[in-house]
């Protein structure tokens, strides 16, 4: 992955609509959810009056810094950043802000220490996401249950927050988490391998599995199917993302909950708020929290599955 740029609409190469400010979206483009967010930016850019370009951070803080600097050099009006970690972007975005660029943190809220390193934030609160998962489990097992948690990429900000929210919410309750492991990347095969090993070790003690992402949960389901035991089919699985797979799994697995972050809502909000901050609109909001949608068999009819 390398820092790369793309103007708004496909076909509009090199001819940004005159006068429209540019918003740079900086994320890890190999990650399907972030690639989908980019599509949503492109889809709605005109509506919010932006040219959008995209720079890849390649999952590396140094490249992320380079990408932020690149965006500033290209004289963008706003930067929407989906950061690699909670802290590494701070000096670069602070510098960008001092140059008059609006920085909008997307997907994750700023850490307490980094509160001044972004103009505004539009986020699902992953801590809240973890809590939501915990609540769903408590609701499903009022008499208590045991299960496991499979995290996202070790050290990734979303994985850290989801774990934090989840473990705080279950602490002291009758829900016992037997084990918590992370893969080295958001890699379904690794999630499946971890699930396999956990199933081997804990067997039918596993009543729920909280997996930090829906595609990883696909691996979890594969692992459960492979043991071919009645208890395995009853396991409650909770995934996060609410993508196409998440929706499908809600329907196909007996007991699946997907905690959805709606990319279109988030990206639209990013552009809306960024424009307001650019125009110094008094109605601009600093911290925008987009609530999670909780997709279950009961609620699925109320949502449409995204196309990723």
């Amino acid at each position: 992955g390398s820092g790369t740029a793309t103007p708004a609409a496909p076909g509009a190469a090199g001819s940004p609509a005159a006068g429209m400010p540019t918003l740079a979206f900086i994320a890890q483009m190999q990650n399907p959810s972030q690639a989908f967010s980019w599509k949503m930016y492109q889809k709605n850019a005109a509506k919010y009056g932006f040219n959008v370009i995209n720079l890849d951070n390649g999952g590396d803080v140094q490249k992320q810094t380079a990408a932020i600097n690149n965006a500033v050099a290209q004289k963008v009006a706003a930067i929407a950043i989906n950061p690699v970690d909670e802290a590494g972007y701070v000096p670069a975005t602070t510098a960008a802000m001092s140059g008059g660029v609006v920085v909008c943190l997307s997907m994750v809220p700023p850490a307490a220490a980094a509160i001044n390193a972004s103009t505004c934030s539009v986020s699902v609160d992953d801590i809240l996401g973890g809590q939501t998962a915990a609540k769903a489990i408590m609701a499903a097992f009022p008499n208590g249950a045991t299960g496991v948690e499979i995290g996202g990429q070790a050290g990734h900000v979303a994985a850290n927050n989801r774990h934090e929210g989840f473990s705080k919410a279950v602490a002291g309750t009758n829900i016992k988490v037997l084990d918590y492991k992370n893969p080295t990347a958001w890699d379904t095969a690794q999630a499946q391998a971890i699930a396999n090993d956990m199933i081997t070790k804990y067997g039918d003690k596993i009543q729920f599995i909280f997996c930090h992402w829906d595609n990883g949960a696909t691996g979890v389901i594969n692992a459960l199917k492979a043991v071919n035991q009645p208890w395995a089919n009853k396991v409650l699985i909770i995934g996060v993302d609410g993508n196409k797979t998440g929706f499908a799994q809600v329907q196909s697995w007996p007991n699946y909950i997907s905690i959805a972050q709606n990319a279109e809502t988030i990206t639209s909000k990013v552009m809306e708020q960024s424009m307001k901050w650019i125009k110094k609109d008094s109605s601009a909001v600093k911290a925008n929290i987009i609530p999670f949608d909780v997709i279950t068999k009961d609620t699925i009819a109320n949502f449409t599955a995204p196309e990723w």
């Binding site: 992955g1 390398s2 820092g3 790369t4 740029a5 793309t6 103007p7 496909p10 509009a12 190469a13 090199g14 001819s15 483009m29 690639a35 980019w38 370009i53 995209n54 720079l55 890849d56 390649g58 999952g59 590396d60 803080v61 140094q62 490249k63 810094t65 380079a66 990408a67 600097n69 690149n70 500033v72 050099a73 290209q74 004289k75 690699v84 970690d85 909670e86 802290a87 590494g88 972007y89 701070v90 000096p91 670069a92 850490a111 220490a113 980094a114 990429q153 070790a154 050290g155 990734h156 900000v157 994985a159 850290n160 992370n182």
Partner: protein, 330 residues
């Protein structure tokens, strides 16, 4: 005198591919800049300084790696060490250790890691490729454990100023540190006995040994140097970002080694140099930057990665092909 001219022109020729590629990129960007539709900020002062800044840490790491590669070794633990150093230096500072002491302790950590790498791969004669890969995994694990996988931020704002204070106009200390490291390694490789011994050891281990060079110690020292630059890079990165994360170095080693090789340092040992490596890194940096300025993603998304790969392959291909032609011409 004649011989000197030949030597110099040979060096230039050896630099040729990566160097020519840089010139080509710059020329291409200049041409694009004459066309309104593709005009970019590539030549703006901001961008050029950014380019330097964003290559600096990789360059610092590359200097140590170059020394190790010339000696016929390789060190893939630099990513893990860089990340761990960042974490440790910030945790120490946050725990109240004075900044210079914290940095000194980190350099010590680097020496320890380098010593282990050297002991296992040099003195025990194992495959450094695998040993240092393993070491990188160990170091990442230690970082994860120390931080519970969370990034750490320095509370003392003084730390940040180490890398970021601007001295010559917009040029920060970080860039000066990088230039100093390049200069020191350049001088050391060219003009010290140790430096020349490094070439001898990498060029022909047995011959170097029979010629009275302490091959083990020389080779071991290159691992210490490599670890030291990785540590320095880690401290500078932490200072630049005022924070550190234990997973920051994931893709770093292959990127650095690849850039060094594109610059013309041989992984087989015996051939290479500080300037060559610097050129290789600058080339990859400039390419990424140029692609981003030209917004190549407009054509096809993910194209820049492919182009980067194709350019790396082309340069290496041309390099090997040149050597083959030379072999055949004899």
């Amino acid at each position: 005198m004649n011989a000197r001219i030949i030597e110099v022109s040979k060096t230039v020729l050896a630099l040729q591919k990566a160097f020519l590629a840089i010139i080509l990129v710059v020329l291409a960007m200049a041409v694009f800049n004459m066309i309104p539709a593709t005009r970019s900020e590539f030549f703006s002062q901001v961008n050029l300084v950014d380019l330097l800044k964003s290559s600096s840490i990789f360059l610092i790491l590359a200097m140590g790696e170059t020394v190790t590669l010339i000696a016929g070794g390789v060190d893939l633990s630099i990513g893990g060490l860089m990340a761990l150093t960042g974490v440790v230096v910030i945790q120490l500072i946050n725990a109240g250790v004075p900044i210079p002491v914290a940095i000194a302790l980190c350099l010590l950590l680097g020496l320890v890691v380098g010593a282990v790498n050297a002991f296992v791969s040099v003195y025990q004669r194992t495959e450094p490729f695998i040993i240092t890969l393993g070491m990188g995994i160990v170091l990442t694990g230690i970082g994860l454990q120390l931080t519970d996988a969370h990034p750490v931020t320095a509370t003392d704002q003084g730390f940040q100023s180490i890398a970021n204070t601007e001295i010559f106009g917009p040029v920060p200390i970080l860039v000066l540190v990088m230039l100093a490291v390049v200069a020191v390694v350049y001088w050391m490789l060219r003009n010290t006995s140790f430096g020349r011994n490094v070439y001898a050891v990498g060029g022909d281990y047995e011959v170097a040994k029979y010629s009275g060079i302490n091959v083990l110690r020389t080779k071991a020292a290159t691992y210490l140097i490599c670890s030291l630059t990785a540590t320095l890079g880690g401290v500078m990165l932490a200072s630049q970002l005022n924070s550190a994360s234990s997973i920051a170095g994931d893709n770093t080693p292959l990127y650095v080694v690849c850039a060094v090789v594109v610059g013309g340092t041989s992984v087989a040992g015996g051939i290479g140099g500080a300037i060559k490596s610097a050129i290789g890194l600058v080339l990859l940096g400039i390419l990424t930057n140029a692609f981003s300025m030209l917004r190549i993603d407009t054509l096809v998304s993910y194209l820049p990665t492919a182009l980067l790969g194709i350019i790396i392959v082309s340069i290496l291909w041309l390099d090997s092909y040149g050597r083959k032609r030379k072999r055949e011409a004899v």
